[in-house]
């Protein structure tokens, strides 16, 4: 017996209020969406980008709408513990509101050119490349991306050689994945520090 379901033609995704997750990723139509919020007195999430000139930290403003171009390594401090190079543009929004600060990232999976994400770690001391891997996001979708990213994080954390810079000898701190509820104790502690 088949079950007939109507196609979904619209999505409503509250970013604040009781229906909104405090933090998390979701897939809606052809979009990967991350949202988060916290009280005004909590430490803000901050977006960093890797440019050839160095690391750029996006200034904090009352509200900001920024586009991270496809292929540019970026990360949101305390949200995911690696540099992510996405096969599509990542649209980043942060805004003050009456309850604190709200954040959103939207990545469209529609462009045919978006086939994968690359995760990489670089030495926090001197910037040398430490480790990277590619995840076929188009094939594995958000769930697979999360699972594979977490597996990569744990492999990186488990191997001190991967985390030790060959150039300067600095040891990279432990990494953490996309979803805080997946953290073990060490990852949870790491998420709070960098």
């Amino acid at each position: 017996m088949s079950t007939k379901t109507e196609p979904v033609t619209n999505y409503r995704i509250p970013l604040v209020g009781p229906e909104a997750p405090v933090r998390g990723w979701q897939e809606a139509s052809r979009n990967l969406i991350w949202s988060a919020r916290h009280p005004a007195d909590a430490a803000r999430f901050e977006l960093l980008e890797l440019l050839p000139e160095g690391v750029v930290r996006l200034p904090q403003r009352e509200r900001v709408f920024h586009v991270v171009p496809a292929g540019r390594p970026h990360r949101i401090e305390h949200a995911f513990g690696f540099w992510r190079s996405c096969g599509a543009d990542a649209l980043y929004v942060a805004s003050n509101y009456e309850g604190g600060v709200v954040y959103m990232t939207v990545i469209s999976t529609a462009p045919a050119s978006y086939t994968s994400d690359t995760l990489r770690w670089t030495c926090l001391g001197c910037g040398a490349a430490l480790h990277e891997l590619e995840i076929p996001t188009r094939r594995v979708h958000l769930r697979g991306l999360n699972e594979r990213a977490l597996a990569a994080v744990r492999a990186f954390n488990a191997d001190a050689k991967l985390r030790t810079c060959a150039a300067c000898g600095a040891v990279h701190p432990l990494a953490y994945g996309f979803e805080p509820e997946d953290d073990d104790d060490a990852e949870r502690a790491a998420r709070g520090t960098w």
Binding site: N10, I13, L51, R57, L91, S95, S108
Partner: protein, 216 residues
């Protein structure tokens, strides 16, 4: 590749990243209609928002948006800080703002951010994919009978080929084509004669279309 210490911002950021904040007063002026921003098309409107109602200085009160879903009309009221996605292929319109049903092959996203201070305009963000030449993704301006929802007219635009440069001209052509022939506005199923359509841009409307904007 090597990456070193953080660059001091914001002084140098503007030199490194053009228009890095789309809500900056200098940048937002470029987005009052739509502008290509990387892989997307982005529009930002400053609008007064009170509760669930948006006030457009040229169009008046815009209380809701409407979509034609699998089982009929779906009405949505406006919500601050709630991301809305109209999935590609779903006919949608805003009464008194869009005198047509827009059918886009790509998803459209809407988000309203709070105003800087109470009593000031909020930020209404519209984001949609920018079809690449290889994608064959376009859009339509369509008309449906207001009584029985029979499709009356559809004007298709090859966005993937002509881009946003021709978007507004095509919108105008669609409306003038529909308004120019009462047979197009007369439903072949129920006989209802539907009102004139009108374009998004109030500066392009005729006096008759201005009246139609008030009506529906």
């Amino acid at each position: 590749m090597m990456y070193y210490a953080e660059i001091n911002v914001p002084e140098r950021l503007d030199a490194l990243l053009d228009d890095w904040d789309l809500l900056d007063d200098r940048v937002i002026k470029k987005l009052t209609t739509f502008k290509d921003v990387g892989e997307n098309v982005v529009g930002v409107r400053r609008r007064m928002v009170s509760g669930n109602t948006v006030f457009d200085p040229a169009k008046g009160v815009l209380p809701e948006s409407v979509e034609i879903g699998p089982t009929g009309l779906i009405t949505q009221t406006h919500e601050m800080l709630s991301l809305r996605i109209t999935v590609g292929g779903a006919p949608h319109r805003v009464p008194h703002s869009m005198g047509f049903w827009h059918i886009n092959d790509v998803d459209e996203l809407y988000l309203t951010l709070p105003p800087p201070k109470p009593g000031e305009p909020a930020y209404f963000l519209v984001i949609m994919g920018n079809p690449k030449p290889s994608s064959n993704e376009g859009e339509s301006w369509a008309q449906y009978c207001q009584v029985c929802l029979t499709m009356l007219h559809e004007h298709y635009y090859k966005t993937w080929q002509f881009g946003m440069d021709g978007h507004w001209r095509a919108n105008l052509a669609a409306i003038r084509e529909y308004n120019g022939d009462v047979k197009l506005r007369t439903c072949p199923e129920c006989g209802h004669v539907n009102p004139l359509g009108y374009v998004w841009n109030t500066a392009k409307q005729t006096p008759e279309e201005t009246l139609a904007r008030h009506e529906w």
